[in-house]
Symmetry: C2
Subunit: 296 residues, 2 copies
Amino acid sequence: MAIKPQIENITVLGTGVLGSQIAYQTAYCDFPVAAYDISDERLDSARHSFERLAALYEEEVDGAAGGPARDALARIRCSADLAEAVREADLVIESIPEKLDLKRDVYARLGRLAPEKAIFATNTSMLLPSELAASTGRPERFLAMHFANEIWKRNTAEVMGHAGTDPAVYEAVVDLARQIGMEPIEIQKEQRGYILNSMLTPWLDAAEYLLLDGVADAEMIDKTWRIGTGMQLGPCEVMDMIGLTTIYEVNAASDNEKTRAAGAYLKEHYIDKGKLGRASGEGFHKYAAAGSTANP
Amino acid sequence: MAIKPQIENITVLGTGVLGSQIAYQTAYCDFPVAAYDISDERLDSARHSFERLAALYEEEVDGAAGGPARDALARIRCSADLAEAVREADLVIESIPEKLDLKRDVYARLGRLAPEKAIFATNTSMLLPSELAASTGRPERFLAMHFANEIWKRNTAEVMGHAGTDPAVYEAVVDLARQIGMEPIEIQKEQRGYILNSMLTPWLDAAEYLLLDGVADAEMIDKTWRIGTGMQLGPCEVMDMIGLTTIYEVNAASDNEKTRAAGAYLKEHYIDKGKLGRASGEGFHKYAAAGSTANP
């Protein structure tokens, strides 16, 4: 029987919106975390993110106030030196920009610098683990672990290997996901977009096409979905929550001409007018106050 | 300025799941209703449906108990004679099977039998009003008015004209929708699937593909959607609510090979095993008690 790898020290590469949330949430769940980014400026900005997250957890997470949220900060150390950041890592979670060549370069360096025991997990949204596996130099210890924005509320970790991922490594990462407060979503086969985006994308595209084609406005679209399905949120409200810039970027990268046209429509009618979604106070809908977190 | 047509007498053609709900809901909102179907047997079955709906409204609809739900029954008269059923109609709502030729035949007869003033509204799910308009002999007084199953809870009426629909007729139907307790969804342009199904179909298809491809099971799919979006229901729960037979029929009629394959998967693994959704007590998920309403 395979021995399940032990995970104690965790390094997070990249301190953008999701990277900083992953690092903070992991530290909040009692793990020592090394947060790596490429410059001291970015690490300064990361420290601010961690502070904001601590304040947010105190407000929104049960039991976080009165100590725990602030104690988590002490478990995060920041580093702009990759070798130093990964020296003791049992698990490296990579959350750097979605560029294939960049990720491959970083995995090649990481493969040389990290201890042999270290597992690498990518938080990529768009790529497949099989597209990165070879560059890691340790494909059997590599897989995807995909988080959602506002990790403390939408606490899924979609765990997805490639064909060569060691099942014991997969299991260890599923266990770790639970230990850091995530609901592990065990994906049986490589699937671009995992589970959530595989469903979210066509649904949001359909709503955007209704807007683009002038069939109905955002108000009608959301109302119809809410009443027709009994759910609380329509697709335009969900896009406002995700942030219209992210929606636009995903659309702009699509192979589908109509999807790109819908992206251009969003840019012209919303983004270029400063309507970025809930975080900016207005998107398809107006919001009483600007959202408390940045857009991804 | 156009004079908005007055709507007082309403005839509903077809007393299937939706037709009987439309007739009952309309009568419940104080309108005299003629319910037409092709045989006395079907009308007997319709009378049972109305009785069941009255009992259901008493339980589920505020203010329906203690009189109103039963009083509605007295406002419905049943007829298997089309000429008699439409003689005084201001509005005829057609909810007969989704067969183009059948609908065209019925509209041709209806056009000769109904008073000139009568507006015709089709509850079609799959067809466009423009595909039926010519057969009515009164295209300017013809449009679509599309209801959802469990009309007393999912109270949308998607109102959609074709290019030749008189705007005053459109307005009169929107007003009438409000008077019968519906939230009118005003659709600006012909769109196959209206608003709700335009979004529901690609979303449900995506979930079915994940099942078909063995990426994840229904439990994981629903859990991911619920946590990832904050909504109450995942797509497999929604399919259980709609009824898997309906999902299968929609899939089987698709042009898309993968969609048809997903339909065949549903048939083999669920429908053929008697797992029809919430109404049968089990579909993708198990339910404590069989649902209180029939599947569409």
